[in-house]
Amino acid sequence: MNGSAPMVIAQRLRKVYHGAGDVEALRGVDLEVRRGEMIAIVGPSGSGKTTLLNCLSGLDRFDGGQVLIEGTDLASMSDRERTAYRCRHMGFVFQAYNLLAVLSAVENVEIPLLLQGTGGREARRRALDMLEILGLAARAQHRPDALSGGEQQRVAVARALVHRPAVVWADEPTGNLDTEVTQVIVELLLRINQQGQTIVLVTHNPLVAERAGRVVKIRDGRIDSQRAGSVVPAKESA
């Protein structure tokens, strides 16, 4: 851990899925995410990794505890406020790429900018710039079904970064990719983390997790252990 102020603080976080029988997915999780950190959350299936990510990022509500993002209590935010907050300060990368199939690559990337009110031409320019950075300039006008899995995930990363969010949340970003493409995506995430981008990712892949600055292991809804990974945190490297 480095010495910068925590960006996200989770205290005694609890989440229960109500159904035929209640399932307590998170059982009092305490976690801090510092600015510029790259954290990998690992654990067996059903341990609560994705639930934790969803609760921390404001995608999901929780049943107990507290999540403070830059000092603001997530639980006190309305859905509208949380949505607006996600729009301005967060980026997301999902396992199944989750690009909108009917939009081209550049149209997918410019969504967050348009939502923030950036003008159409400016949004298009910045989206193209981001795709060029990620080596996808030539594929900008293609729709997702014309892109490979690795290309789709790079478009998803471009979409997560284009509006310069405070945190990028990535849920199994390499889950659908082969080893070679996984390596490309991990290098990409490392590169942007080196540039100061805070990243929290959930992964099953130990090789991916090992590249993070900190590895948080979760089991049965509780943090089992935390240890440093191989990455030098952005602030320290800077």
Partner: protein, 963 residues
């Protein structure tokens, strides 16, 4: 209908029986199909409701037609009474009563007939001197009481019946309709004025009920008899029944003009005995020497034929109207099956990976389709029956409102035949299943590895395509060949084939968007060109008009939908322009617009569902709008029409005379004899037709407005001048279905006389043919009174003047009516008929509405993950809600633009093809506005809640990120 039932029923068994066997032999597939179908209860329900529209529409058409035709046939059957055959003088003249006596005494004939009766049938004006009311054009039916027993007893009410034996000379029975029209009572004095004879005073002995005398009677009683003729489409004239001796007082002679024959074993439902008796009757007649040649008329057989023709026509029209609903339902089904197969693709691919063959996959889909189709067909029949009852009710209402209709006492006879219901069920189920099977075949093609991971289908390796090319070239050649003959239907088919083949051949050579545009605009243009060039031929043939109209409406509706859907990407440019002004609007609208513009097949299908129905709604709105009454024009400058059947001229009271500024008198001549007509006029071995004799002056005007002119006439003036100068030209009867160019062949003094209709009025001010004196002089006719048309001073009340004329002339049986009232009554009848057909159209709108609802639900289900992503990225629920509703509104707008556009094109050309119609082109906007309000109301009411629910979905739940 029975044949159709047998064919469709056999087909149903042929299809569903093997499916049942398949389900039994492969229970796994059956189980899978069943569970897939009912997995989502809400979706299943909506799907069944959507699919049922086809069955409901077919059932409603058939039930509506059954009831309408059954009621009409019943009227005609009653009109014929117990009479199966008649003997008449083809020139309409009188003949000796000995003919009837000798036929009755003929032993060879006796085996085939139950009764033979001498009769006299005359048209007269009748006045009730006590009630001071009169009626022209009343049929006096002279009957021989001695033989009436064989033809049934008159039911006088209160358990009293009579065969006429106790009636004294001068006593008369009135039909209930005539009694009602005269407000007559038993004992009232009646004055009868017929033809050129003087007036005869009679006394009302009783009112003869229309109903049968006994329930077991094989025919209805004679109280509804009005002769084996139907001068109007919907029933005979008002009738009075007189013992022959009394009737002969009116003619001042002892002769008769008809012999009525009841066949042995005959019944209203069975014309076979009448057929059997016809030949012996002709033989018997041949053995009798008569001064003039007499003929046997197969009146029962003609009635059967007329009923069959009417059934075919009404079923055809109703099915054509419901045809668009069926087409819309097919578009909905294809859309749904494609949507479902896209959603299930990974699951189905897993089954394929586990060893299920492609054929097995199709069987599974078809079994699932069978569940939907049977459920939908049952629901369709349940909904279709009341809808059909409503259609029939409006049809009958239109009949009763028709100024030519003389029926006031017969209610609609609802007829719901099990065979009809079975036909509706089987047709609906087969329709749904066939569509599901065809679509399932198409969607079952998949690359398993890609489908399991929900990746796009890899491009197929180029295949040998020469068989396909050869086939398309053959189709193109066949299509081109069909363009050569000067036949509208052939050209429509040929052009469609040619365009489809060219679009197919262009695959791979032109972008899909260009191909779709060429195809869509091509068939739209084809429909426009063929209707402009050939429409008038179909306008004059009502039997094919409805079917051709269906094709002409459907082609451009689908064509425009395809063309517009293929080019929706142009809206992206507009959105980009908008984005420079409001990025948030662009963000909100881009995803929904992209879903529409980048899935043109599904967009086109959904838009087509609306477009098909709205196109016909628009055409009907044009028909109604263009048929709206312009009283000033339709009245031809006249305000009051007075008619009398007596020989005396119609006298006007002094007070009325002072108000009159113009008049036209037309003598009436009644033609009795054979009639052969083209088009809807039809043929009859013996009928009566009223001829109004046109005065020589003014040369360029007539008594009625001419809306439908023959092609060679540019103006009404041309037509009137031609009718006066050319003896073979006449003005046709209004609202009879006749069209300009139709031919009427009647018996002339020196052989058959061919008369051609130069024009037809839209409204029946005069109930008959208008012809010059020269033309009428060539026919054997009897005097039938006169018609007087009056123009009155501005500011005078025509209704009041009409009442004064009728009061003053009641003793002559003068009937006077305000022309405005007649026009309003005719238009009300027209509207009632259109309202009935509207039910079938609104079923089509229901399909469109359900298509929107389905798209709303599919959007929520299919795009669950996409909505989750958008929410995660920062879309607020209101923004998503606006987007989803905008998508539905845009889709509906596409359907509206395509449908209304197609309707306007077809309606405009069809209107003009109505033989250089003189009526101005106009659209009934309220009618159209109601349909559009339903469409857009649905967008808000149906998609709003669905979209709201989808938009409020928790993002984490939507993207299913499970740790």
């Amino acid at each position: 209908m029975t044949q159709a039932f047998l064919v469709v029923g056999a087909l149903f068994l042929l299809v569903f029986a093997p499916l049942g066997v398949l389900a039994w032999r492969r229970p796994l597939l059956a189980r899978f199909a069943l569970r897939e179908s009912i997995r989502r209860k809400g979706q299943f329900t909506l799907l069944v409701v959507g699919l049922m529209a086809g069955s409901a529409s077919i059932t409603a058409s058939l039930v509506g037609a059954d009831s309408s035709v059954q009621t009409l046939t019943s009227v005609w059957t009653q009109q014929l009474g117990a009479v199966d055959l008649t003997v008449t003088n083809p020139s309409g003249g009188l003949f000796s009563i000995d003919v009837a006596r000798r036929l009755a005494a003929d032993r060879a004939l006796a085996r085939y007939v139950d009764g033979v009766q001498a009769g006299l049938e005359l048209h007269a004006s009748v006045a009730d001197l006590d009630q001071r009311l009169g009626k022209p054009d009343v049929l006096l039916v002279g009957f021989d009481p001695a033989s009436q027993r064989r033809f049934g007893a008159f039911d006088l009410g209160g358990g009293r019946t009579t065969y006429g034996g106790e009636l004294a000379e001068g006593d008369v029975l009135l039909s209930t309709d005539l009694a009602s029209a005269l407000e007559a009572r038993v004992g009232d004095r009646l004055r009868v004025s017929a033809g050129s004879g003087g007036a005869t005073d009679l006394r009302i002995y009783g009112i003869a009920a229309r109903k049968p005398t006994r329930w077991e009677t094989r025919r209805v009683g004679p109280g509804a008899y009005s002769g084996p003729l139907a001068r109007t489409s919907y029933g005979g004239p008002l009738t009075a029944y007189l013992p022959l001796a009394t009737a002969q007082l009116v003619t001042s002679g002892g002769e008769i003009n008809v012999v009525r024959v009841a066949a042995r074993g005959g019944s209203p439902a069975n014309g076979q005995p009448a057929r059997r008796a016809a030949a012996p009757l002709r033989s018997a007649l041949g053995r009798i020497r008569t001064a003039t040649p007499l003929v046997v008329d197969d009146v029962r057989v003609e009635l059967e034929r007329k009923a069959a023709d009417t059934t075919a026509y009404v079923v055809g029209v109703n099915l054509a109207f419901s045809g668009l609903t069926v087409l819309a339902a097919i578009a909905l089904i294809v859309n749904l099956v494609i949507a479902l197969s896209e959603e299930r693709r990974p699951r189905l691919a897993v089954l394929r990976a586990l060893g299920l063959s492609r054929a097995g996959l199709i069987v599974t889909s078809v079994l699932e389709g069978a569940v939907y189709s049977v459920a939908a067909a049952i629901a369709g029949v349940v909904v279709g029956v009341p809808a059909g009852v409503y259609v029939a009710h409006e049809f009958w209402n239109a009949v009763l409102l028709d100024p030519l209709s003389r029926i006031s006492s017969l209610p609609l006879q609802l007829t719901i035949r099990p065979g009809t219901l079975a036909l509706g069920f089987a047709a609906g189920a087969l329709l749904t299943l066939a569509t599901v099977a065809a679509t399932a075949y198409r969607t079952s093609r998949m690359a398993i590895s890609a489908a399991i991971r929900d990746l796009p289908e890899p491009a197929l390796a180029p295949r040998q395509r020469w068989p396909r090319t050869a086939l398309l070239l053959t189709v193109a050649a066949a299509g081109a060949g069909l363009l050569i003959p000067n036949d509208g239907r052939a050209r429509l088919l040929g052009g469609s084939l040619l365009i489809a083949a060219v679009a197919g051949l262009a695959r791979g050579r032109l972008p899909d968007r260009a191909r779709a545009t060429i195809f869509g605009l091509g068939i739209t243009a084809l429909a426009g060109i063929t209707v402009a060039a050939h429409g008038s031929r179909f306008v004059s043939d009502l039997n094919v008009q409805a079917t051709v109209l269906l094709i002409w409406v459907a082609l451009p509706a689908v064509g425009l939908s395809i063309a517009v859907a293929a080019n929706l990407r142009l809206l992206d440019s507009g959105l980009a322009w908008l984005g420079n002004r409001s990025s948030r609007v662009q963000a909100a609208l881009r995803p929904p617009l992209a879903y529409l513009s980048r899935r043109p097949l599904r967009t086109g299908l959904a838009a087509s569902a609306f477009a098909l129905v709205l196109a016909l709604v628009t055409v009907i709105a044009i028909f109604v709008g263009s048929g709206s009454i312009n009283h000033e024009r339709e009245s031809a400058g006249f305000d009051v029409v007075a008619v009398s059947s007596g020989a005396e001229p119609i006298h006007l009271p002094q007070g009325v005379e002072q108000q009159v500024t113009g008049r036209m008198t037309l003598p009436i001549q009644i033609y009795s004899g054979p009639l052969h007509g083209t088009g809807y006029i039809g043929s009859s071995s013996w009928t009566e037709m009223t001829f109004y004799v046109l005065p020589d002056q003014p040369r360029d005007a007539g008594p009625v407005a001419l809306d439908n002119l023959g092609r060679r006439f540019h103006t009404s003036t041309d037509a009137w001048q031609a009718v006066r100068s050319q003896p073979n030209l006449v003005i046709g009867p209004g609202t009879s279905g006749a069209s300009p160019g139709d031919e009427i062949v009647v018996a002339g003094k020196s052989g058959p006389l061919h008369l051609r209709l130069a024009a037809v009025p839209a409204f029946a001010i005069l109930n008959g043919v208008v012809a010059s004196a020269t033309t009428v002089a060539n026919l054997d006719t009897a005097p039938g009174g006169s018609a007087l048309l009056l123009t009155i001073r501005p500011g005078s009340d025509p209704s009041e003047l009409a009442r004064q004329i009728a009061r003053a002339g009641f003793a002559q049986g003068v009937q006077a009516t305000s022309i405005r009232d007649l026009l309003d009554q005719g238009f009300a009848s027209y509207l009632a008929y259109a309202t009935g057909e509207d039910v079938l159209l609104h079923m089509g709108l229901l399909v469109g509405v359900l298509a929107l609802a389905m798209i709303g639900i599919r959007a929520a289900v299919e795009r669950r993950r996409a909505i989750g992503i958008l929410r995660a990225l920062g879309y607020q629920p209101p923004s998503l809600l606006v987007g989803l509703v905008a998508e539905a509104a845009l889709l509906a707008t596409l359907g509206v633009l395509s449908g209304v556009g197609a309707g306007l094109v077809t309606g405009y050309f069809f209107h003009n093809a109505g033989a250089s119609s003189a009526t101005p082109f106009s659209v009934n906007l309220p009618r159209l506005a109601i349909a559009l309000a339903i469409v857009y109301g649905t967008v808000v009411l149906v998609t709003g809640p669905l979209a709201s629910r989808a938009a409020r979905m928790a993002p984490a739940e939507a993207v299913r990120m499970i740790g």
